[in-house]
């Protein structure tokens, strides 16, 4: 039966890759149309520095890697020399990564515990309702007075952004655990709350926890750039720094660098997610 289906697919009029090719073709077409509009817009904009064209921007992007820049290493002391683009990207990662990871760990932990324990939920729900609507960037004032606007301050802002997204992912995931599954586990000898959380609630909530984390990867890029516009070192700072010198093409180059970095992280995490959630 399955053999027949397999040979049946092969003898179909259209080879299997045709539909994929058509889809990719459309994607490339959309991209090309955008580049054309951009290029035309840049060509007719006067003065020309207001809108750098795609070719100038690409050249600026390549230039990001042409010269080395030395950056100081936080905590460890000393310094590190990298091509300029990578150097500033590394500076961003110095606050992005700790903020994201710490925020995710704290958010997921609190989300799981609160979703699981009705009493804690009662205690904290009003407080969370009150704090949640505050945009992470609003906390920048405290970041500045507490930590100064450097890595720690920027990491703090990223932490807040990552915290909420991961909190809600985990909270919703645990709240949505099927009661039948916990019943089944109970009849199979799971007695303690902690074992139930580990054996049933956590794996059951995993898809939502992971989606929450993946969303926070993207959201934190927006937040980190926002924080750097206030002066923390990194790619966001370089965007505004370049535009202050009217080097808009360099600004676009850094924007492209952020976009590519995010894409790599997102694709990588999706692969990890797919492997982890093979059961779905």
């Amino acid at each position: 039966m399955s053999v027949q289906t397999e040979s049946g697919t092969r003898t179909r009029d259209e080879p299997w890759y045709r539909a994929d090719l058509r889809r990719y073709g459309r994607g490339v077409g959309g991209l090309a149309a955008f580049l054309a509009v951009w290029w035309t817009g840049a060509a007719i904009t006067q003065p020309s520095y207001l809108l750098p064209g795609p070719i100038e921007s690409l050249r600026a992007f390549i230039d990001l890697f042409a010269t080395p820049t030395e950056i100081p290493l936080p905590l460890l002391g000393g310094s590190l020399t990298l091509p300029t683009g990578l150097a500033h990207l590394t500076q961003t990662l110095f606050h992005y990564v700790p903020g994201l990871l710490l925020g995710a760990v704290c958010g997921i932990s609190l989300g799981l515990t609160m979703g699981w324990s009705g009493r804690l939920d009662d205690w904290l729900r009003p407080l969370i309702r009150l704090l949640r609507p505050i945009p992470p960037l609003a906390w920048i004032v405290f970041a500045i007075v507490w930590f100064g606007i450097h890595h720690t301050g920027a990491a703090f802002i990223v932490f807040i952004g990552a915290f909420w997204i991961n909190f809600y992912g985990a909270y919703g995931g645990v709240e949505g655990v099927d009661g039948e599954l916990t019943d089944a586990a109970a009849t199979l000898g799971v007695e303690r709350d902690l074992s139930m959380l580990k054996l049933v609630a956590l794996p059951s909530a995993a898809p939502q926890v992971l989606t929450g984390f993946r969303t926070s990867i993207g959201r934190c890029w927006m937040i980190v750039v926002g924080a750097e516009l206030f002066g923390a070192p990194g790619v966001g700072y370089e965007i505004i720094n370049a535009s202050n010198n009217l080097a808009m093409d360099t600004s676009v180059a850094y924007m492209l660098l952020i976009s590519l970095t995010f894409l790599c992280m997102d694709v990588g995490f999706r692969l990890f997610e797919r492997r982890l959630l093979a059961w779905r």
């Binding site: 039948e180 059961w279 779905r280």
Partner: protein, 267 residues
């Protein structure tokens, strides 16, 4: 209403499950629904007991009370001489909608109860192999539940409950969502397993045919509120033939009782 607490032809020995004057109510919005009202009956060791009744007669609540998943308002359940205060490994449960852990493979699901510290099995892997074989799932051990049909899922559900070797198997309309042909096959397999393990089974269903096919004794329940209307012994040799005159007669009698005519208690 005739409240028959009859255990026809049964010895006066110690029952495996003794349900005593069980009452339970649910709060649903502002009204309180009486799920069970003064339900009493007993199940003997090794007996295959079916509970039939219309939907909403509290059969599931009854089963969950025996499992220890619900606490009754009054009365209680005594299992093997001990009052039920919560779930325990001595009572395995098979759920209507399977309730398999979707993130665990077939083997992983079956293994779940064996991983508990309370359960000391010398060779868990061998036990899992044995169970996979018992429920006829060879070759599917590493499949995730999403890849299985309803009948196969319920086989996993049964194997998972059997894994910890419970003395009592509680089954909540386990074959309600599988097609008729698969159900027939599962009946035969379940009876084989039961004959082999000598477990006490409480099997809830709304399908009278199914009850007569499987049970040693059938407890017939009435709804609103859930009460036991009557009990009926089925003394037919297995395997039972649906077209057999006595089989048909049993089905007709249960139907009569359920239809509200005065229940005639068997024998």
């Amino acid at each position: 209403m005739a409240m028959t607490d009859s255990q026809p032809g049964e010895s006066a020995g110690n029952p495996k499950i003794d349900i005593r004057n069980l009452s339970m109510a649910y709060e649903s919005g502002e009204t309180s629904v009486q799920a069970l009202s003064a339900v009493s009956f007993a199940v003997d060791p090794g007996e295959f007991c079916c509970v039939v009744g219309p939907s909403g007669c509290g059969k599931t609540s009854l089963l969950r009370a025996i499992a220890g998943l619900e606490t009754p308002d009054t009365g209680g359940v005594v299992v093997g001489g001990e009052p039920v205060t919560g779930p325990g490994l001595d009572r395995g449960m098979v759920f209507q909608e399977y309730a398999l852990f979707p993130w665990r493979t077939v083997r992983g699901n079956i293994r779940f109860g064996l991983d508990r510290p309370a359960c000391g099995c010398a060779d868990c892997e061998a036990r899992v192999d044995e169970l996979v074989d018992l429920v006829g799932l060879d070759g599917f051990g590493d499949a995730y539940p999403k890849a299985l049909s309803g009948g196969m899922k319920q086989r996993v559900g049964i194997a998972r409950a059997l894994a910890v070797d419970p003395e009592i198997l509680l089954m909540d309309e386990p074959f309600g969502s599988v097609d008729a042909r698969t159900r027939d096959r599962l009946h035969t397999e379940l009876l084989d397993i039961w004959a082999e393990t000598e477990q006490t089974v409480v099997f809830v269903t709304h399908d009278i045919d199914e009850a007569v096919r499987l049970a040693d004794r059938i407890v017939i329940m009435d709804s609103e509120p859930g009460t036991v209307r009557s009990a009926l012994s089925v003394d037919l040799p297995r395997p039972r033939d649906r077209t057999d005159a006595t089989f048909v007669d049993h089905v007709a009698r249960i139907r009569e009782v359920l239809a509200g005519r005065q229940g005639r208690t068997a024998e």
